[in-house]
């Protein structure tokens, strides 16, 4: 009976009694969700352009952040380290296309997925071999003080992350809509064969999209690295991006943002108000439970393309 109360009436009463606290949890969750979206965007880009679920995106986030902070530790100023890391991520995209994906054109998606699995483990190990496994503090000057807005504490770091994510979505939208290469990317995403038939070079497009995903990974890595320090665990944030993709759809950039907001807010509210009834620590699996519920009613996610295959 007590459990039933804690799962049903209790949390609702608490939300009504403490609306400011509820708002604080909700806003905190939404801003955390933006951080998940930063990681999810990289997945979306590659899936959108090539239909490949890039398991290595988390490892790319780690690798980019390790390279960035590693170069700074070796005395490079921040801007130079940033440019050099972008160059490294482009070179990595080139290598992945040349050495792995280019050899697997026309293979089943599961083969390409397995290839990205290999890339993930390689990058995890290679990055740590070069830059070490120590925790590397990263300070790019993002303030982390909290401000009080009507009794609700909001952290400057979270606000900055939201602004960065918004800017990134805007830049990606312009890139996809207004540039020639962006239009080519969309064409490839719509139909590989048709794109090839009108002379769009598929391999170049893949390289471009992996480069962009690498740069998005760098941004996510810098944000998460500033929060947690750059360390191996960063590669695990990919696990936080998966429910975001399941909810927002694998092919939609706005979907990655909306999915992130839903997951962030959902898991925080669930953890704070419903978690105590079941012993707590529910936010990780709650996000997946939420995603599964979405899958049942909308398998392609909120904004994903509906997959129709003729048999």
């Amino acid at each position: 009976m007590e459990f039933l109360h804690a799962m049903t009436i209790g949390p609702i009463v608490e939300i009504i009694e403490y609306p400011t606290f509820f708002m604080e949890v909700l806003i905190g969750g939404l801003l955390t969700g933006v951080m998940y979206s930063l990681v999810a965007l990289g997945f979306v880009l590659i899936f959108k352009a090539s239909g490949v679920f890039n398991f290595a995106q988390g490892a790319m986030v780690l690798f980019a952040a390790l390279t960035f902070v590693g170069l700074m530790e070796h005395g490079l100023p921040m801007w130079a380290a940033l440019i050099a890391t972008v160059a490294v991520m482009i070179a990595l995209a080139y290598a992945i296309e040349r050495l792995v994906l280019g050899k697997l054109v026309n293979q089943e998606p599961i083969i390409l997925f397995m290839a990205t699995l290999g890339i993930a483990f390689f990058l995890d190990g290679f990055g740590q071999t070069i830059w070490g496994s120590d925790v590397k503090p990263l300070d790019v000057g993002i303030p982390s003080d909290a401000i009080d807005v009507g009794g609700v504490l909001i952290n400057w770091f979270d606000i900055t992350a939201a602004v960065v994510a918004g800017l990134m979505v805007a830049v990606l939208a312009i890139f996809f809509q207004k540039t020639r290469i962006g239009r080519a990317l969309r064409a490839v995403a719509d139909d590989h064969q048709a794109a090839l038939s009108v002379g769009i070079p598929l391999k170049t497009i893949w390289m471009v999209v992996w480069s962009v995903a690498g740069i998005v990974g760098l941004v996510a890595g810098v944000m998460w690295g500033s929060k947690l320090g750059v360390q191996f665990t960063l590669s695990l944030i990919a696990l936080k991006a998966l429910p975001v993709l399941m909810i927002g759809g694998f092919t939609s950039i706005p979907g990655a943002i909306i999915g992130g907001l839903i997951v962030g807010a959902g898991e925080k509210v669930a953890e704070v108000f419903w978690g105590p009834a079941v012993g707590g620590a529910i936010e990780d699996w709650f996000a997946y439970m939420l995603a599964m519920a979405f899958l049942v009613f909308r398998p392609q996610g909120l904004f994903g393309d509906k997959i129709i295959e003729r048999v």
């Binding site: 403490y18 606290f21 604080e24 949890v25 905190g28 969750g29 955390t32 190990g125 740590q128 496994s133 120590d134 925790v135 503090p137 990263l138 300070d139 982390s144 909290a146 504490l153 952290n155 770091f157 929060k227 947690l228 320090g229 360390q231 191996f232 665990t233 695990l236 944030i237 936080k240 898991e267 925080k268 953890e271 704070v272 978690g275 012993g279 707590g280 620590a281 936010e283 990780d284």
Partner: protein, 439 residues
């Protein structure tokens, strides 16, 4: 044909090399140490300095001529702080070249739990220094497990005593609120019952907040703690990225750092450096004084690194977890020396090193002789007591280093020992073990 010749040549070479090995003079006695470490995976930043400190101490001992002439050899196996891999590692390296290890340090509470029965069957001692199964401190039920110098339960009482001293006395704890943030694992759950017992004894309100592995995201936890419960003190039983994230999130909800106390696995530079200024004032328990001030540190720097401080620092020399590995090595070697006094200056087996542990009396003077003056307090064990009665100290991060900020605090052994006994007897009953008699 050519291939056949090549194969024959290779076989010939192999036989030749083997012959050479056999022809070598009989090697001096060696003590083999199977080392379960983790230099990879999400917890590697904590595992690496510990392993470096341990291995450096063994190298240092060898450079001094070994343990009464017995050289140390070791093999590492990377567990990744994963229990299944830890068990696999143990099985793989417990014996090497026909030599069985006498003692193993699982470096994980989960792995310790998994190895207790296996190691007992193999006659190998487990030294889970400051982690593992607390009840295993009862030597009558666990003759081959040692938890010295202190357990999680003892630590929980010492931290509570410190909080008591901060608020003006243990009687002032009544009505206060203390929250525990813990890694949602066997390790993190260890002190819960002790805190519940302490809360009943002293009348404070206790709340607990699990954080799922690896602890990347804790906003919900800290909003609950910092904005809803608003405890007087928060104690943390964390590991890895969970610790630095907790510090950052605690700062985000403006929880005062000097009322946030980690256990000794939430007490390293890895935990306090990533959050930057946010971690200034954060406190943590320890069973030794932090720093690289001892003669042993100087000797290791000179002997192993040729005085190259930069190289030593790169290998974590003097960091909190390096020191823990170093002192773990020192305690094991001391047990071996005690065993050698009885059984002779030779390599020892598990039962013999267990004798060494049980008859160990590492006084402050003895620590000073080993180059660790003013580093930690004494360790004295017995047949029944595998933990000892070492006091703890509270340290504080000042933005650059850890500094001691309390006197030595003796855990409330009178309170926890009956709890050990009860848990140990329950285990004995479950496993059909007849507790041995200790005189």
């Amino acid at each position: 044909m050519k291939l056949k010749k090549l194969i024959l040549a290779a076989v010939g070479m192999a036989v030749g090399i083997t012959g050479l090995t056999v022809a070598e003079p009989v090697q001096a006695d060696e003590q083999y140490m199977p080392l379960l470490v983790y230099r990879s995976g999400p917890y590697a930043p904590g595992g690496i300095p510990y392993a470096n400190g341990l291995v450096d101490y063994f190298k240092y001992v060898n450079a001094q001529g070994g343990v009464n002439g017995v050289k140390l050899t070791w093999e590492e196996c990377d567990t990744g702080y994963n229990t299944a891999r830890g068990v696999e590692c143990y099985e793989r390296i417990k014996i090497k070249d026909g030599k069985k290890g006498a003692v193993v340090m699982p470096l994980s509470t989960g792995i310790t739990y998994a190895l207790i029965e296996r190691a007992a069957k193999d006659g190998i001692v487990i030294h889970s220094m400051g982690y593992g199964r607390t009840a295993a401190s009862d030597g009558t039920v666990f003759p081959l497990v040692f938890t010295a110098p202190a357990t999680y339960w003892s630590q929980a009482t010492a931290i509570t005593k410190y909080i008591g001293s901060e608020v003006g006395g243990m009687d002032k704890l009544k009505g206060k609120k203390i929250s525990l943030v813990y890694h949602d694992s066997a390790y993190g759950k260890e002190p819960i019952n002790t805190f519940i017992a302490l809360s009943k004894k002293y009348g404070f309100k206790f709340t607990k907040h699990p954080v799922a592995h690896p602890g990347l995201e804790q906003k919900a936890t800290w909003l609950t703690i910092g904005r809803k419960i608003r405890p007087d003190y928060v104690v943390m039983w964390g590991w890895g990225v969970m610790n630095s994230t907790a510090i950052k999130e605690a700062a985000a909800v403006k929880f005062p750092m000097d009322r946030f106390i980690g256990n000794w696995w939430a007490a390293s530079e890895n935990d306090t450096r990533p959050p930057g200024k946010a971690s200034i004032g954060y406190k943590a328990a320890s069973f030794y004084v932090p720093g690289n001030f001892t003669k042993l540190h100087a000797d290791i720097l000179k002997g192993l690194y040729g005085g190259d401080k930069a190289a030593a620092l790169k290998n974590n020399w003097g960091e909190v977890l390096y020191n823990r590995g170093m002192v773990n090595g020192a305690i094991i070697i001391e047990a071996m020396k005690v065993a050698q006094k009885k059984f002779g200056n030779r390599s020892v087996n598990g039962t013999e090193i267990a004798y060494g542990f049980e008859n160990m009396d590492m006084t402050e003077e003895r620590f000073a002789e080993l180059g660790m003056k003013d580093f930690m307090k004494s360790i004295k064990l017995s047949c029944a007591d595998h933990e000892g009665t070492s006091p703890l100290i509270i340290t504080q991060w000042d933005g650059n280093t850890w500094k001691p900020v309390s006197d030595w605090i003796m855990p409330d052994h009178a309170m926890v020992r009956p709890m050990y006994k009860e848990a140990a007897m329950k285990y004995a009953k479950e496993k059909g073990i007849t507790p041995r008699k200790c005189m």
